[in-house]
């Protein structure tokens, strides 16, 4: 097994874990974290591709590396925007949930019944 093989499996697993967390975790902040995990797995896949394409005296192909640097900064910008939206939601509704209407508490009477 080479370095590329080990981290290729690592990248794929990171995408898998992130996807699972994105679907299953109900809290928006946890979804943002999970989405970042998916993103980092995809970047790592780029890194593995760059490593396999090492040539001309470079340790890795510079083109995928440059794309990943651009991607890391764009992913951070998107995360900052998502966090700002979430905090504004919390400020406006006093709750941070994506449920269509807040889940009723155990002793509250649902409307219309």
């Amino acid at each position: 097994m080479s370095v590329a093989t080990v981290f290729a499996l690592c990248a794929a697993a990171a995408v898998g874990f992130g996807l699972y967390g994105l679907i299953v975790n109900p809290q928006p902040l946890r979804k943002i974290l999970a989405f970042n995990l998916v993103g980092s797995g995809v970047f790592l896949a780029f890194g593995v591709v760059a490593r396999r394409a090492a040539a001309a005296g470079f340790g890795a192909d510079p083109v995928p590396q440059a794309l990943v640097i651009t991607g890391v900064v764009v992913a951070f910008s998107a995360t900052a925007l998502a966090v700002a939206l979430l905090l504004r939601l919390f400020q406006a509704t006093d709750a941070a949930t994506l449920a269509p209407d807040p889940a009723p508490g155990p002793d509250s009477d649902p409307a219309g019944s």
């Binding site: 290729a8 679907i23 946890r30 192909d61 640097i69 951070f76 910008s77």
Partner: protein, 315 residues
């Protein structure tokens, strides 16, 4: 099994363990801490993959700025933690999600492992054209010359994200200062570090941007360190965040994309194509773009973390 292979496997296991912790930890704050440590270990993976430039970016952004942003958000949202229990998805949905995730991960792993051998590469092309720019770092060559369009549009994306964040401010606070007014004990540890670290950090940040022409480093990595120093000073209460309608701030925010666009249009007018640098001035033009970019990226990153205007412009 060689030592290097064992090291890689241990590193991959640690990274994946932290990824699992980020997903399953009960407390969101603990999950965010796990994610920040994950970002730092990921930087080590990038070093092992021979991508030192990416490792620097990942450590500075994934481990540093993401940590400040997400830990701050987790602390603000702490009170919402208790109301989550009734929203937990059913066992059936979790099982379906697990099956889907395993399928996607398996397909991705197969796709990467079954790539053609020898792998197609642009490295020889990047090496052959390196003389055209006079820069020795191949990644900077790609970012600033061969794929400069991507880098320019990325600046615009960052500005759009900042405009999006600012537009979340209530009307009455428009033009105000972002974030809460930070107060720290003037004799405390944070204020001490905020006095001690910035002189070193500013030098390191500018050095990293400058040396990126020939060695690992670059405008983003340097600018991220400068942004971190600015945030440290703001969080220690030593300097307040500027109101978002300050003239110098607006000019600094557009300096990077504006210089990039001017040079690009100059290439169209004087040379062969948009963003085609005249060969004799290529290095000087790239350095001019990078200088403007460091300023813009540092200020944009700092303001992205600081958030929308939240109080009036009066100090």
């Amino acid at each position: 099994m060689t030592f290097a292979l064992a090291l890689h496997i241990v590193l991959a296991v640690v990274v994946l363990g932290l990824a699992v912790w980020t997903i399953v930890a009960r407390d969101t704050f603990a999950a965010v801490v796990g994610f920040v440590v994950y970002g730092l270990f990921l930087a080590l993976v990038w070093v092992r993959l021979g991508a030192v430039d990416v490792a620097l970016a990942e450590a500075a952004i994934g481990g540093g700025l993401n940590g400040v942003l997400l830990l701050g958000a987790a602390a603000r949202l702490r009170t919402t933690e208790l109301s989550v229990a009734p929203e937990r998805p059913s066992v059936g949905l979790r099982l379906a999600a697990a099956v889907l995730s395993v399928a996607v991960a398996t397909a991705l792993a197969a796709a990467i492992l079954l790539l053609p051998d020898p792998a197609p590469t642009l490295a020889p092309a990047a090496a052959a054209n390196a003389a055209a720019t006079g820069l020795a770092n191949p990644v900077t060559n790609v970012l600033m010359a061969f794929r400069a369009m991507d880098t320019m549009l990325e600046k615009v994306v960052m500005l759009l994200a900042l405009v999006g964040i600012w537009s979340l401010a209530p009307d009455r606070l428009w033009g105000g200062r972002p974030g809460p007014r930070h107060q720290a004990d003037p004799q405390g540890m944070l204020a001490f570090l905020a006095r001690l670290l910035p002189p070193i950090g500013v030098v390191v940040g500018i050095y990293l941007a400058w040396t990126g022409a020939n060695h690992p480093g670059g405008a983003f990595q340097g600018a991220t360190i400068l942004a971190a120093m600015w945030l440290l000073v703001m969080m220690a209460g030593l300097a307040d965040a500027p109101p978002v309608d300050t003239r110098w701030l607006r000019l600094a925010l557009i300096a990077g994309p504006a210089v990039f666009l001017l040079v690009g249009l100059g290439g169209l007018w004087l040379g062969a194509a948009f963003l085609a640098y005249p060969a004799a001035y290529a290095k000087a033009l790239i350095l001019a773009i990078e200088a403007a970019m460091v300023l813009t990226v540092a200020i944009t990153l700092g303001l992205l973390v600081a958030g929308p205007p939240a109080r009036s412009a009066a100090p």
